[in-house]
């Protein structure tokens, strides 16, 4: 079971509080939008990650629990890049 951060890019309005609260995993790009380090969140950072998620004014940040050996279908996109989750793009 790995814990990961996921951003809803449509909801995100670059308030930037997530990066203040979890600098270990989140930095801001030139326009204030979060760059998420996709490494899984270790247990010692989970409380901070949760706080960052709660702080987001637009609910754009979410904590995802992903089963590490997920038997879900892999969906190939163009150029053979595999994306977990939903079919099609």
């Amino acid at each position: 079971m790995t814990v990961r951060l996921r951003v809803n890019w449509i909801a995100c309005e670059a308030h930037g509080m997530c990066a203040e609260l979890l600098p270990e995993r989140i930095t801001l790009d030139d326009w204030g939008y979060p760059i998420i380090d996709q490494r899984p969140i270790p247990p010692e950072l989970e409380a901070h990650a949760r706080r960052a998620v709660d702080a987001c004014p637009t609910l754009a940040l979410a904590l995802e629990r992903v089963r590490t050996r997920q038997p879900s279908p892999r969906f190939p996109t163009q150029a053979g890049r595999l994306v977990d989750g939903e079919p099609g793009t």
């Binding site: 909801a11 308030h15 930037g16 509080m17 203040e20 609260l21 702080a55 004014p57 637009t58 609910l59």
Partner: protein, 236 residues
């Protein structure tokens, strides 16, 4: 502040508590609204990062609610005006100054709605939360009118000063917010400015003939049993 004397039902501790907590709640609500209106995040610094400013906003709101609960409880517990608890939630249904007290209840209802939607934000979704949050803007002027209309201390200088300061601070915040980003969204910005000006002007015009005028307690709907024959001597 003169106290009524020789009364079998004198002002109890609850009566003082309810006025004090109400005043504090108004100040906290003002702080919360000002922080919201200013979109104060943009003024954050590395030493006062955005999550701290946001935290102050949230904490001020929470504290305001706490003081509101105290305010409501003590007003119900106080035996002078016999205000039932239900009057705090159902506006305009009471016997004690129904309109002015009712405004307080209306304001409280809005604040409750904001609290509930904020706590259950993830479940209710962003849109429901945002819509309710806009109602916060309505809860503040209603609260101020409630304070001026119901408050027993309204004629006291300190009370007027506090209410005046709250009004000024909100006006300044609205002015600053409207100006930043002008002339984008010129219609909502102009509307906000107009509403604020109308409210401030209207309140200022109303005060002398209203709460600061003669026989206000009677005109405001204080039950006659609570009025002394020589009006004006009783607090409220």
């Amino acid at each position: 502040m003169t106290l009524a004397l020789a009364s079998t039902v004198g002002p109890s501790a609850y009566w003082y508590l309810t006025r004090a907590s109400g005043t504090v709640a108004l100040i906290l609500l003002t702080l919360s609204v000002v922080l919201g209106v200013l979109d104060v995040e943009q003024y954050s610094t590395p030493r006062v990062p955005r999550f701290v400013v946001d935290g102050v906003h949230r904490t001020a709101s929470l504290l305001a609610v706490v003081f509101l609960f105290v305010h409501i409880l003590t007003s119900a517990l106080d035996s002078f005006a016999s205000i039932p608890l239900i009057d705090a939630i159902v506006p305009f249904a009471g016997t004690y100054r129904p309109l002015w007290l009712g405004l307080g209840a209306a304001s409280f209802d809005l604040v409750l709605a904001i609290m509930i939607t904020s706590v259950a934000r993830r479940r209710l979704g962003y849109r429901a939360w945002r819509l309710t949050h806009w109602l916060a803007y309505a809860s503040w002027p209603i609260a101020l009118l409630h304070a001026l209309g119901t408050g027993s201390d309204v004629k006291a200088t300190w009370m007027l000063a506090i209410c005046g300061a709250c009004l000024v601070v909100v006006l300044v915040a609205v002015w600053m917010r409207v100006l930043s980003g002008w002339p984008d969204g010129i219609r909502p910005r102009s509307a906000a400015l107009a509403l604020a000006a109308i409210f401030a002007g209207g309140t200022a015009l109303w005060l002398p003939s209203g709460p600061l005028g003669a026989h206000w307690a009677q005109r405001a709907g204080t039950p006659s049993s609570l009025l002394r024959p020589s009006a004006g001597r009783r607090p409220g």
